[in-house]
């Protein structure tokens, strides 16, 4: 273990960028508390931590998006003041955000030059495209400069963002949760790009909460928790278990439990389900049976129909053929409410924006999938919200807080609590990627909740 403070400009290269005692507050939280961080030339330095640990905040301070209340940003040994990301770019610092900032209707090349200062009145399209092509070549970022961004996959859009940063002359790239939206082969591609960049002396800050992958790519890993740096390790010293403990601040159990539970009757069955959407077959002849006390996983690369299957079971889509039965009641074609009445609960992949109404309070969100009468019973929902907050240790100022202000893990707790312990007493659960985007601690909670539901005889 080496602490961050004792890390000096090491042999790998001169110090490229550093944060000294950076403090950044948001109303109610200290997102960064006296944080020190440094980055050498040609280095991949990972910021690891749970959601809300302050990693993205630190990265945003480093690229000029946020101004810290205290502390300095040092570039090549001199203190710099960054008032905007544009100032950051002027110093060769660029950030690739988790949520892309691209114009869907523009081509790759147009997006790359977007916001670039030295644009002539008439775009020298051919020249720009040639330059973009050269960058994609050099760093192994396969992209067609003429493709329209709206038609690209998440991985390709990310490459556009990286190309854009490089085009603008970035020497230091801050990648905020770059793998969150990528499939495994795309992650590999991203890693080789990162290596190509460090090879020519560029530095990369890699913000992530995924333990497994950061060990491969990083030269150094700095762990943050609750706005502070809790430790820093070099390549080779990294031990997944140790890093995980630094992240959550306590011993954790990474391997999910596989408890033996009593398997009961078939509660959910789908037979010969066939779904077409916009003329394309999304699901073909799907058969599925889930018994009480059993968790059945449906796996596959995103976009292969898991979501459609979940929506068919949840009654949101009506299949062209086939039957879905929940607790003995056929539900296909009876809509989402029909499926719920039959005893189904559904946790969609998209938490905020589908599973929860983001601007509404925790209390009001608990009402969402209940049977509601003419008048809404907010009193009991308030009581329920208070109970959940206490039992599941949901971190929030109170039951009237809008769910969009919760961290991903806490929002998922609200959603799961509603679907698992709903007053209606659902016996069949459909849960989509429940741990996506969550940190280790929250993943553990989600697994524990699902195990508990399974042990209670529910079909998942």
């Amino acid at each position: 273990m080496v602490t961050s403070a004792s890390m000096q400009h090491d042999e790998k290269g001169a110090l490229a960028l550093a944060a000294r005692g950076v403090t950044k507050r948001f109303p109610g939280v200290v997102a960064n508390d006296q944080v020190n961080f440094d980055l050498a030339r040609g280095e991949v330095h990972t910021l690891l931590g749970e959601n809300g640990a302050g990693k993205s905040t630190l990265a945003s301070v480093l690229c000029g998006l946020y101004r810290p209340e205290a502390g300095q940003v040092v570039r090549d040994g001199k203190e710099i003041r960054l008032n905007s990301p544009r100032d950051g770019l002027a110093h060769g610092i660029a950030m690739v955000h988790q949520h892309f900032r691209l114009v869907d209707r523009f081509t790759v090349a147009e997006n790359v030059v977007l916001g670039h200062k030295s644009l002539s009145f008439v775009l020298a399209t051919a020249e720009i495209e040639a330059k973009v092509a050269a960058i994609t070549e050099e760093f192994g970022l396969p992209l067609d400069p003429r493709a329209v961004v709206g038609e690209l996959s998440a991985g390709e859009r990310q490459r556009v963002e990286i190309v854009k940063a490089l085009y603008q002359g970035a020497e230091i790239l801050l990648l905020d949760e770059p793998t969150a939206l990528l499939a495994p082969p795309e992650v590999e591609k991203l890693f080789s790009t990162v290596r190509a960049m460090t090879h020519v002396g560029k530095s990369v800050v890699f913000v992530s909460h995924k333990l497994g992958e950061v060990v491969d790519i990083s030269d150094r890993i700095t762990v943050m928790r609750g706005g502070r740096v809790t430790g820093s390790v070099r390549r080779g010293e990294a031990d997944v278990r140790r890093l995980a403990e630094l992240m959550v601040g306590r011993e954790i159990n990474i391997v999910p439990r596989r408890a033996k539970s009593q398997v009961g009757d078939v509660l959910l069955s789908a037979s010969q389900v066939h779904l077409e959407r916009d003329g394309a077959a999304m699901l073909t002849d799907i058969n599925l049976e889930v018994r009480g006390g059993e968790i059945v996983g449906v796996a596959g690369v995103a976009g292969n129909g898991q979501r459609d299957l979940a929506e068919v079971i949840a009654g949101l889509r009506t299949p062209q053929q086939g039957n879905v039965t929940v607790c003995g009641t056929p539900t296909a074609g009876h809509g989402a409410r029909g499926a719920r009445r039959a005893g189904l609960a559904y946790v969609p992949e998209d938490r905020l924006g589908t599973g929860l109404a983001p601007s509404m309070s925790i209390r009001d969100n608990l009402l969402l999938t209940r049977e509601r009468n003419f008048l809404v019973d907010r009193k009991s929902a308030l009581h329920e919200a208070e109970t959940f907050i206490k039992q599941l240790e949901i971190k929030t100022p109170g039951p009237l807080t809008p769910t969009r202000k919760l961290s991903g893990g806490n929002a998922q707790k609200v959603l799961l609590a509603r679907e698992l312990f709903a007053v209606s007493g659902a016996r069949v659960l459909v849960v989509c990627s429940p741990t996506r985007g969550l940190d280790v601690g929250a993943v553990e909670t989600v697994h524990a909740l699902l195990d508990e539901a399974r042990d209670a005889g529910k079909a998942i």
Partner: protein
Amino acid sequence: MIVLGRRIQMEQRMAVPKSAVVIVPVVSVIAALVVGGVFLALTGHPPVRTYLDLLDNGYTSFYGITDTLGLATPLICTGLAAAFAFRMNLYSIGQEGQMYLGMIGGAWAGIVLADSLPPLIAVPSVLLFGALAGAAWIAVPAFLRARLGTSEIVSTLLLNYVALNLVNYFIFGSQGFFRDPTTSFPQGRAVADSARLSPLSFFTEKSTNTYPTFFVAVLLAVMLFWFMRVSNYGYETAVYADSPNTARYAGMSSAWLQSSVLLVSGALAGVGGAMYVVGPAGKVDPGLLQVGLGYAGIVVAALARYNFLAVVLAAVLFAGLRTGGNALQVSNDPVPIAIAVVLQGAVLLFALGGELFRRNKVTLVRVQKATT
């Protein structure tokens, strides 16, 4: 480090402080008055005295306030109509036309039905038919929106012009049902006496331009406010407004929510037109076309930030500017009505601009040359 100058910096507020909710609108109105004052001074009118006159003629004198409340009555309805739709992110701007149709529908009921009915039934039936006519006028845009996703902005706006010409046709273009048969002067056929309310006197001997419908409008606002808070319907529209995906996930029908909200919005604007029949007009009166109370309803809804109770206050504020401005025109030192319109525009601009200050923390920062 070299100070180059100052620059305005904005940061989104995480939580809106309670004080900003009060201070920002007050400052907005004051700022609007200052801007209006500049125009007054430029046109050679003493700003302070003109404002005092405006205040007196619009709000504080007996006839001023009663005129204002009378004008505010249909304005509350169109304001509620706009707020009701805008809350659901449905930008219907057809309140003007729906209000005309409400006037036509209300007058029809007042002529045909009311004769045989006591006022206690006749007046509500005029309002009801006004509501139905207003809802009918938005039915096609509502259907197009809910089923085909057609922009309600365009369809409702265009129907305003159809409604406008319909009223003109009934009164000026034809000898039809709504035209007064007893005179060759182009005016509307009067509704039955039982379908009319007499103006309020407010315990004096004077006759005013405020009608009991004012209290009906206020009651509508209170009922809407309460209903949308406690009812399942209010809950579902709030979920839909926040996130249509979430509403779909919860099994709510977007077609039903969108079309019903638009229909209710149309009905509210229609009631406003019918109140004009029950109150001052007593007939289909093209005079309503001059006032623009439908479009003003959109402004009122925006000022009220779509809060139904605040719509009442905003409507009274707005109507007062109008009546006060009208009175200034005929005073000893006539101020052109354009100035009153400038003032209304300034109030709206500053109120909407004030939103920026409510949502963001705005600070002045020194721009320093970055030392590299």
